[in-house]
């Protein structure tokens, strides 16, 4: 299979010489095209730092990150914005939609920023909205729709430019369980039907159970790796809970 993302000995330190915090000690892994990878860990385990490094929002202290063979740690800071918008899609916990624009305009903005020809903008929006089931709220403002709908809009915005990699940071964090399920099914279908490569960070076992492979982080290192294989989602969920118990979080960390 084709490797899309490859991390080699990533390290990230905060602070100065006398007082160093090692957020990421030494992490290496790779993501294949069309994979749905979950990253789990307790608070402070370094998962958000890792995501920020991959998304080029933060820089690494040591190591290399290759996306489609390009070393993102070597990219000129001026070209980073361009690299981001052409290769990456983001879904955030708090949606990050602009409240001054309608749902359709929020999606269109991502296209416009990427210089999509004007004639194709609206057809693309309609197409993606149909897939994510948000066609009937396209002309509403974010404050007029529910959290689940907002997050699906954010997904639409993230994948409309066909990014190499879709990064999701706690996408269900602000949603109730029903909306979470709906959204996760959507993300799964994005993965299966559109063949998008997804990297999702979460601390929720249920959310993680939708992924095909999970990396568990503990204290800035990969503690364990779990593959779904041919298991059912429920069986995978149980496995995840077991790992979490081993890590020390126990059932209390599971919602």
């Amino acid at each position: 299979m084709n490797t899309i993302l490859k991390l080699e000995h990533i390290q990230k330190y905060y602070g100065n010489a006398g007082n160093i915090t090692k957020a990421i000690k030494d992490i290496s892994f790779s993501v294949e095209a069309g994979e749905f990878l979950g990253i789990m860990g307790a608070s402070g385990s370094g998962k958000t730092t890792l995501l920020n490094c991959i998304s080029t929002i933060d820089t690494v202290s040591a190591g290399h990150i290759f996306l489609e063979g390009i070393d993102v740690t070597e990219i000129n800071p001026k070209s980073l914005a361009r690299f981001r918008r052409e290769n990456l899609g983001f879904v955030f916990q708090d949606f990050n939609l602009l409240d001054t624009l309608t749902i359709s305009e929020n999606i269109a903005l991502a296209l416009a920023i990427n210089h999509t020809p004007v004639g194709r903008v609206e057809s693309r929006i309609l197409e993606i909205a149909g897939k994510l089931n948000i066609s009937d709220i396209l002309n509403k403002y974010p404050y007029q729709v529910s959290g689940g709908q907002k997050q699906r809009c954010a997904c639409a915005r993230a994948i409309i430019n066909n990014p190499q990699l879709l990064l999701a940071d706690e996408p269900t964090g602000a949603l109730d369980s029903h909306s979470s399920q709906m959204l996760l099914s959507t993300i799964q279908s994005i993965n299966k039907q559109l063949g998008a490569t997804i990297l999702m960070v979460t601390h929720d076992a249920f959310t993680a159970s939708y992924a095909s492979r999970i990396l568990f982080l503990k204290d800035g290192e990969i503690f364990m790796e779990l593959c779904k294989g041919n298991d059912s989602r429920n069986a995978f969920f149980d496995k995840i809970l077991n790992v979490l118990t081993i890590i020390g979080g126990g059932q209390s960390h599971v919602c």
């Binding site: 914005a81 918008r85 983001f90 939609l97 903008v121 404050y143």
Partner: protein
Amino acid sequence: MYAKLVFRNAKRSAKDYLVYIVTMTICVTLFYAFLSISSSFYNPDIGSEYDFTLLSDGMKAAICMITLLLLFLIRFVNHYMLRQKQKEFAIQSIMGMEQKTIGRIFFAEMLIMGLVSILAGIFFGVFCSQFITAMLLTAYGKPYEISWTLFPDTVLWTVVFFVFSFLVVGIFNTRTIQKTKIIDMLSAEKENDPELKKSRWIFVMVIILELFTVWAFITGVIKALFFYDSRFPIPVQFMYFGNILFPAATLGWSFLWLFKKKKWNFQKLLCGLLACSVLNTFAAVSVPALTNQYYLPLGSGMLRQYLLFALIDLLFFICVLIYLASCFIVMWKEKSPEHRYKEENLFFLGQIISKLETTSKTMTLISVTFVLAIFLFIAAPILTGWAFGYLDIRSMYDVQIFSQYNDVHDEKELLQDNYEIVTDFLDEHDIETAYDCTFNLYLPKKEDFSHRTKYDFPIVAISLSDYNAIRKMLGYEQISLGKNEFATQWKIIAAEEERKNFLSKHIDVLTDGGTLKISEQPYYEEAMGETLYNSYTDVLYVFPDNICKKLLPVMRNRYITTTEKISYENACELERLFTIEYPEQTESGVAYGVRFSTLQTNSAIANNFILQTGMIYGAVVLMVICLTVLSLQQLLDAGQYKYRFCVLRKLGVEENHISQLILKQLSVWFGLPIIVAIIVAAVVVGYFIQTVSAEISAYIGLAALMLQIGATVGILVILLLCYFISTWVIFRHSVNS
């Protein structure tokens, strides 16, 4: 503990609200500087012929009135700070602090910021008052010396005024804090530009416009019924019909909209009314303009009424234009996808539209205030220049005595007096006269005596010897006339066209002493004072002496120049004595008047100074208020913008694009109200200049006027740039941090 909290908060807020402190300091500086003139300790050397008390009292009143406007600014900034700090208040309340205490802490904090501004303001005010003193002494024509003094009474006034303002606003704030629920405070930060709902004030404006239009329509019809004459020239005809048809069209459009309400949206009504308000404005302002030009009879109070109509129309124009601005942008956005989907345009338009829709009322107020400020800036030098120029014309003689026969109906009542009381007074006080001339003004024909309507008031005549005596007094060359010839003397304000027209029609003049022909030099236009002419006329005949002997003398004047200036006290005393002997209203109907150059100059300088400083002070204060409100509105929302620009950054927009977006957004925000204001102000100022164009060319001169307008524009641009650049820098900093 609380004191510590107050000081720490004040210190932190000072950083956030630097613009507020700077604005307050500017206001205190201006207040102190202008008010220092009225201090009882202020004693500039302006000479014995002038009296200063008149100026002080007027000045104090004018400055306090204008400064009341500052209360609005103080209230505005406090309101915004309240909103910013709601979350902090909420946390303090949850922790168990009483809301009363929170209110007091906030109040103490604002008071500290205010006191810092007052101290800084007074410090700068001491410097600034030097400029005002320089202005004052220049106005009185005296040399200027720098003197550094702090006036205790002015300091007291300043501190009392501003502390009182802070107290009033502080009490309001404390009440607001006490009444707000904790849950509302907590969620205050989350609701950003809520609901994009438009307020209903525009409906109120439409209703007001409709009511005024009905009034204008009725007035137009009544005036046409009473005063219309088909022989009027075309512009006047247009004026009469315009003032009926345009209001009628406005009402018609509104009715049409009511019928088609289901199909037509509200914006359509507004667009129609916008066009109508422009037409109505032109129709309304044509009334005073044409009335002046053609001496139209319209009844008393009409001019003011039509100016009111014009004002309402202009106000409506500003309101609707700004209200519709967001609609226009939305329409443009809908119609041109190529612009809409070009790079970050969607984001930019979203920012502008949401802000415009929620703050159109503030924008309108800012625009209206801007218009007022620009008008004050430009009108101040015109009015004072006019008054000073007029002063030179009016006070050409040290003593000027004149009479009018407007209310005399019997020729026998016309008295021939030499005003000896003045001679006696001058002798008594050892005031030497350089020239003294007592003379009559005659009616060319006796039957003219009965002509009393404004439009055919007779032109009076002066004898050649008296005319030459006055010319000698003023240092002009003597003139001569051939046998049975006459010449004319013109008021300085008379237009060249009017003079040519008159002379071409008056080659001969029929008098009781025979027919006179116009001389080779038909007119003279040196300034000779205003009392030399009959009421409502701009011209005076000069007849040979022998002819004048046969005419009816109707007015008797006496002009005196003295070797030394008459002192202020003597002038007041003589005026009092003269008025007892020769009152302005007598039983016979003859009206007497006396003018002293000392008194005229004194009151003119004082009034002018109050007018000029008052207007300039007012204009600066208004402008500072507008710019501060504009700037603070953007800066205080920077938190919201920070989030939005952060989203853009995550979406992969380059930094230079973000900088451009910020610049574009601020340009629209500052530009829109200012451009609307400049358009409206150009119309208002243009109309004003056109109305007083005769006075401008006579007393001020076009070049001087242009210089003044240029200086005004310069000040505006500098103020605007200062505010724009500082807002831009702070905005960028807060968005990028």
